[in-house]
């Protein structure tokens, strides 16, 4: 076969494949998954990607999709790089995605203004812009079940209770070690506001992405400043390296707290000295839930997953499941509201505003006791749910607290102001025109 003939054949095959796609798309729901299994942040991204994929694939295998409609899952590798993430968005937006999960605050921020134009809802689950919890201002963005500001307020509240009351934090010093990126800086305005209100001092320790595995300076500075508590907003290989450096520098681990992102591997990397390290969480760890057993049976045992078996049930794998649980509920609610089987992004936006994950629904989904209930609405796209504190005992995370409610009284005013400020600074920010469903 000549090169010319081969080229023509290939072109024809490509055209045929392209022509076949829309027919396929009409009886399926397209769910792109932005993931990062490569690069410096793969240590966090891989497990989440596995959990997200496996839950949705389990619905495909076990139930034939959602409401009888198959889900077409497609991963786009962002490498946690904002530029690549936006490229992924541009690549998928023409395929009628029902929701986009950027899995990076940096990627989420440039997508927020596009969402209402392209009619694609953005699910930034417990990350992204905290102010986007305001559904009346950000009708296309959802960030349940808690914002970073909620998370920070929960940690401060927990520490305050340990000290005997928030007022006892007066005069204390709180160190904040964070990735020097949009994600890591997100809670700083609230931290500084709380410091002013309560009277504690803040010491910031930014870690540049290129120095995530070279943190000796930050921990030396912590030794100089002697913070009473350290709070970490880290991601990727920063978390494990921070735990190691904290142990190396002799920082008391029982005073080292993190937002909900460190994994078992991150804690494990500190060896026996990492005992006492704490982080927030809002869902169970472990695989002892019917839905996760179904993932095992229908996905992992059939070789349809990239996850290694020992990672199933670990904290970030289950975080991925939680993310996909929200996607699935958004789609199911959209089908219920519209009466359509094959729903669109606009339908799923409505569906997400009607998510009601109560105990009965969680039981029905095979996730009884997996997480606290979550109710979203037209105005509240977050839920501002409580989280709990878990502690590393040397081999596993152990839940050590009751649910910690966010300090809504202190966070709400800040959040409302930030949302208003965002709309004002972005000239021409559209007023919400999307109708609210009665149920929400």
């Amino acid at each position: 076969m000549s090169f010319r003939a081969m080229s023509l054949g290939l072109a024809a095959a490509t055209m045929l494949a392209g022509a076949a796609l829309p027919a396929f798309a009409q009886d399926s729901i397209y769910v792109p998954l932005f993931t990062y299994r490569t690069g410096p942040f793969a240590g966090s991204g891989t497990f989440i990607a596995d959990g997200m994929h496996d839950y949705l694939e389990m619905l495909n295998q076990r139930d034939g999709g959602i409401g009888g409609v198959k889900l077409v899952l497609e991963e786009c590798e962002t490498g946690y790089d904002t530029k690549k993430g936006v490229e992924c968005y541009e690549a998928v937006k023409g395929k009628n995605p029902v929701v986009v999960n950027p899995w990076s605050t940096g990627i989420t921020l440039p997508l927020i203004p596009r969402a209402s134009v392209d009619k694609i809802p953005i699910l930034s689950m417990a990350y992204g812009l905290s102010a986007s919890a305001r559904g009346d201002i950000f009708p296309w963005v959802f960030n349940p079940p808690a914002t970073y500001w909620d998370g920070l307020s929960m940690i401060i509240k927990f520490i305050g209770e340990k000290e005997g009351g928030l007022d006892k934090l007066k005069g204390k010093k709180i160190g904040f070690i964070h990735l020097d990126a949009a994600f890591g800086k997100e809670p700083i305005p609230l931290l500084q506001e709380l410091a002013k209100d309560i009277g504690f001092e803040v010491a910031l320790y930014p870690v540049a992405a290129q120095d995530m595995q070279n943190q000796s300076s930050q921990w030396l500075s912590a030794r100089r400043d002697r913070p009473d508590y350290m709070i970490m907003w880290g991601w990727g290989s920063m978390n494990g390296a921070a735990v190691k450096e904290a142990v190396r520098s002799g920082y008391p681990m029982d005073k080292f707290y993190a937002v909900w992102w460190p994994s078992e591997d991150d804690a494990r990397s500190g060896g026996a000295g990492a005992k006492g390290f704490k982080e927030l969480n809002w869902h169970a760890v472990g695989a002892n839930f019917p839905a996760i057993q179904d993932i095992q049976k229908h996905v992992i045992d059939k070789g349809l997953s990239k996850a290694s078996k020992d990672k199933v049930g670990e904290v970030l794998y289950n975080r991925g499941i939680y993310n996909s649980l929200l996607i699935a509920e958004g789609i199911a609610q959209a089908q219920k509201l519209t009466g359509k089987k094959v729903v669109t992004g606009e339908d799923v936006r409505r569906g997400m505003e009607n998510i009601k994950l109560d105990a009965a629904r969680l039981k029905e989904l095979g996730l009884e006791g997996f997480t606290d209930q979550l109710v979203l609405s037209c105005n509240d796209h977050n839920g501002h749910r409580a989280a709990f504190m878990q502690e590393w005992d040397g081999t596993k995370w152990v839940k050590i607290s009751n649910p910690i409610e966010p300090m809504t009284d202190r966070v709400k005013g800040q959040l409302d102001a930030a949302a208003k400020d965002y709309a004002e600074k972005n000239a021409g920010w559209p007023k919400r025109t999307e109708a609210c469903d009665k149920a929400s």
Binding site: Q213, N214, S217, Q218, S237, K244
Partner: protein, 318 residues
């Protein structure tokens, strides 16, 4: 006035008030510096032999460490895995010579430099394909690298010395010493220096360029393996380690691209300089100065010695 005091007086007052922290900072800087020097050494070896700035040196550090850990995880005993990782670096050197360098011989340096860019991205993709993107733990105990801390109460405070850091400094120093002896006292070393001086002259006396390139890339691979073990033991083995290799750039600017002593002294100056800068002056601007301070230090040196501390002065007739 207040700012002048904070910049020029306060840090030195604090150094005097807390000498234990000054010693600790210097020690951390020296350890980082030795490790930077080790990475820079890989660049220098290849640049000396072929005039190529090997952008792939950083990923070679990750690749070597991942092979070691990956083999161990597959059940290969630690020291056999270490030997096999070294063999893998030899194979890589041979492949690079055959597939990348030989076809590009006599091409402008920038072409060879770009080829190492390509090699970098190939190794990243290949490494992620084989080992996945998850961070791994270095097999520190299995390689009998010491753990633990010695805390010395002195100077009105305490100084914490990690046994691993001491081992890293000793092993890196031995490695540097061995390489220095190898390249100055052996026949191959002399051949390398001849190649570094003039490819044509070296060829005319029967030195095989191809063979020298393989040896040099292999030596750089071994240096990468040691650097990977040491950095990996400190902070885990992941693909973000390759970014640390960029810290070798200011070291090279400072020490010169062709000098082994330059890499060592440059590494130490950068390591100590950035730690002192971050610790004593970083808080004035909210921290995080370490990332760019190394380049500022290197550029300041360049104002006085454009060829670097130990680099060869090149005079070209125009």
């Amino acid at each position: 006035m207040d700012m002048l005091y904070k910049v020029f007086i306060e840090p030195f007052v604090f150094m005097g008030e807390a000498p234990d922290l000054l010693i600790q900072t210097l020690w951390e800087g020296l350890v980082s510096g030795v490790l930077y020097a080790l990475i820079a050494l890989g660049f220098v070896l290849i640049f000396k032999a072929s005039g190529v700035f090997n952008f792939a040196q950083g990923i070679m550090v990750v690749f070597a460490a991942l092979i070691l850990v990956g083999l161990y995880e597959k059940g290969v005993p630690a020291f056999l895995a270490l030997i096999l990782a070294a063999v893998a670096m030899l194979v890589l050197a041979m492949v690079v010579e055959r597939v990348v360098l030989r076809p590009l011989v006599n091409q402008p340096d920038i072409i060879l430099f770009m080829a190492t860019f390509g090699l970098t991205y190939f190794l990243i993709g290949f490494g992620e394909l084989i080992f996945g993107g998850n961070p791994r733990e270095m097999i520190t105990e299995q390689l009998f690298l010491p753990q633990g801390t010695t805390e010395i109460d002195a100077l009105g405070g305490s100084i914490r010395l990690q046994h691993l850091d001491i081992a890293a400094a000793v092993i890196a120093s031995i490695m540097i010493g061995l390489l220095a002896v190898f390249f100055s006292k052996t026949r191959i070393g002399r051949a390398l220096r001849a190649v570094a001086d003039s490819h044509k002259a070296a060829l005319s006396v029967g030195i095989s360029l191809n063979q020298i390139w393989v040896i040099v890339w292999f030596a750089a691979g071994l240096v990468a393996l040691v650097a990977g073990i040491m950095w990996g033991a400190r902070s885990g083995v992941s693909f973000s380690l390759q970014i640390i290799a960029l810290k070798a750039l200011p070291v090279l600017i400072l020490g010169g691209f062709t000098s082994i002593p330059g890499a060592i002294i440059g590494g130490l100056i950068i390591g100590v300089g950035e730690k002192l800068g971050e610790f004593y002056w970083g808080p004035l601007v909210g921290g995080g100065v370490e990332t760019w301070l190394a380049y500022v230090i290197a550029l300041l040196f360049l104002l006085y010695r454009p060829q670097g501390l130990f680099g060869e002065k090149i005079i070209e007739r125009i």
